[in-house]
């Protein structure tokens, strides 16, 4: 398997796809920080560069879907998977090595985001104000989140025999995960109550009052009961949602779930890949 990993890593650097992804990350990440630096409103506090890690995370999710399906889809398209099988490698080794190589590529991309954010952030925004714990949590959540996402995209790329179909499926999956994550965080972060002073006097009768506390009213947008449980489950399952809501407190449950998801996705992918006929 070491041979396959080595060959995969070398191929990763021989083709343009990774460099294009890094260039896109550089442009998007750098542009965001430079724009903030140049066009910030006078007197407004500079944001923490850590905030830009989130946008880098989202861009990397999308680019990793593109990279993995393009990188592995090419093996189907060009028929080069056959060379690996004929060379006496079993399918398990091929699958695991593909996962490792793709994960390395994703980590290179996200590592690049951290480097870029830290460099431009320190230079233009004055460096991180987030605590070390918060940054560590961000790192851990994104590290595990990308493990799960890589496992998902590798499954799609290796088990869908068409490169274009695989790419489209992975990009749709990436968008779905991102939208799902953002929406879940938005919904779960809606407060249960609203202070009365924040509501216009003529609108107040429309709100349900809290019997014990006249200073607040019930927020009609607050989701509770069974629906909240659903969104909380989605939050636990979705690495993007965990990344967005990352704080100083480590989200141990979320991390464990990401690990479990990775294992399930890898096992399912290997099973499908092992049983499918290759052309």
């Amino acid at each position: 398997m070491n041979k396959l990993i080595r060959a995969g890593i070398k191929r990763m650097f021989r083709i343009k796809t990774l460099y294009i992804c890094l260039a896109v990350l550089f442009l998007i990440g750098g542009f965001d920080i430079i724009k903030e630096f140049l066009f910030r409103e006078p007197g407004r506090d500079l944001p923490d560069p850590g905030g830009y890690l989130l946008s880098g995370f989202l861009t990397t999710v999308l680019l990793s879907a593109v990279f993995i399906t393009s990188f592995l889809g090419a093996e189907h398209q060009y028929g080069t998977l056959r060379n690996k099988i004929v060379a006496g490698n079993n399918r398990l080794s091929i699958y695991v090595s593909s996962f490792i190589v793709c994960y390395a590529a994703v980590m290179i991309m996200y590592g690049f985001v951290w480097l870029e954010t830290t460099f431009f952030g320190t230079l233009m925004l004055g460096g991180y104000t987030y605590g070390a714990k918060e940054l560590l949590n961000l790192f851990l959540i994104s590290f595990l989140g990308f493990t799960m996402l890589t496992a998902l995209f590798v499954l799609i790329a290796l088990c869908v025999h068409s490169k274009s179909l695989g790419s489209v499926s992975a990009v749709i999956a990436a968008f779905a995960i991102m939208i799902c994550g953002v929406m879940t965080v938005q919904i779960l972060s809606v407060p249960a109550f609203i202070p009365v002073e924040q509501i216009a006097a003529q609108d107040l009768p429309d709100y349900e009052k809290v019997p014990d506390d006249p200073s607040i009213v019930i927020n009609p947008d607050y989701v509770d009961g069974g629906r909240r449980k659903v969104f909380e489950t989605v939050h636990l399952l979705c690495p993007v949602s965990q990344m967005i809501s990352s704080s100083e407190e480590p989200n141990a449950d979320g991390m464990l779930v990401s690990l479990a998801e990775t294992v399930v996705l890898l096992a399912s992918g290997m099973l499908i890949f092992k049983k499918r006929d290759l052309n």
Binding site: K3, R82, N83, G88, D277
Partner: protein, 304 residues
């Protein structure tokens, strides 16, 4: 005789279609084995099975003496190189990078020998040109170079001359002959272009509807396809008596025709036939090709 590949009753089904129905064949070491059959006969399916791309539903095969059910089959496969249908090459890489990639995948410690391989397949001067911009023949040759990268003892080529121009066909033919004669590589080659195959193969396997119809070596095929003179007469029984009397080998094909496997003196035959009141109407030289022999074996039914 030592065999590189032996299959025993291999069966493979795709849903309701049986691509292989108990296929049994043997490829002798050092041979160029021509695998002949029409589209859908099961040639590529067999190649896919022995390459490990698919699993058989029943039956077994031995590659270098190792059964497909044994763990060592993966090690045996390292001794083979293959092109299945289309050459397996990275189109976004140069010929040299493709070979380096294959060398990395095989775990070779260095890129030594890559120049020699490029020279062997005639792609030494392709420089930075990506495989995407190669002609079909160049891609085919690069595919062969990749298959040769692991110094295989057994080369499997599935339709290697499909779509090539005459020059490309000659180049591939010469290359295969060189590999077989100089490097002692056993070659399994499937092809539709039967006359071309007859210039290469030392052994043949004729496949039809997922079964081997006949296996034979080149000498046997030559005997089966040998030249003859077809005589057309008014009385074939009289002709048989005359030919028996003259000690000439023949085969009666119908009431008026017989194939004579020698160079008979026609005037002598005519004189003898005259005594039986039989006329010699015509004498045509016939040369049964591999193609016509194949048709006689499997019939000229529609292609699937």
């Amino acid at each position: 005789m030592e065999y590189i590949l032996k299959t025993n009753c291999l069966t493979k089904k795709y849903k309701d279609f049986a691509a292989l129905r108990g296929l049994t064949m043997s490829i002798p070491k050092g041979s160029i084995y021509g695998f002949v059959g029409k589209n859908g006969a099961g040639k590529t399916t067999l190649i896919r099975l022995i390459c490990g791309l698919q699993d058989a539903d029943a039956g077994e095969y031995e590659l270098f003496g190792v059964k497909n059910s044994e763990k060592d089959i993966f090690r045996s496969r390292r001794r083979m190189g293959a092109i299945v249908e289309t050459p397996s090459i990275y189109l976004d890489m140069t010929a040299e990078d493709n070979l380096k990639q294959q060398a990395d995948m095989l775990g070779r410690p260095s890129y030594e020998g890559i120049d020699e391989l490029l020279h062997l397949v005639g792609l030494k001067d392709t420089g930075k040109k990506r495989a995407r911009n190669f002609s079909l023949g160049m891609r085919q040759r690069l595919g062969i170079a990749i298959a040769l990268c692991g110094d295989p003892d057994f080369l499997v080529l599935d339709e290697p001359i499909n779509g090539l121009d005459p020059q490309g066909i000659i180049e591939i033919r010469e290359l295969i002959l060189t590999l077989n004669r100089e490097r002692k590589i056993t070659v399994l080659i499937s092809s539709h272009i039967l006359d071309e195959l007859s210039k290469l193969a030392t052994h043949y396997g004729f496949i039809d509807h997922g079964q081997i119809v006949r296996e034979m070596n080149a000498e046997e095929l030559e005997r089966a396809c040998r030249k003859c003179i077809r005589l057309t007469v008014t009385d074939v029984r009289a002709l048989a008596m005359v030919l028996d009397k003259m000690g000439i080998e023949y085969k009666i094909t119908d009431d008026h025709h017989a194939d004579v496997y020698a160079k008979p003196i026609l005037s002598a035959i005519t004189r003898e036939l005259d005594q039986y009141g039989c006329d010699l109407i015509s004498a045509d030289e016939r040369d049964e090709s591999l193609e016509s022999y194949y048709i006689s074996l499997v019939g000229g039914g529609s292609h699937e």
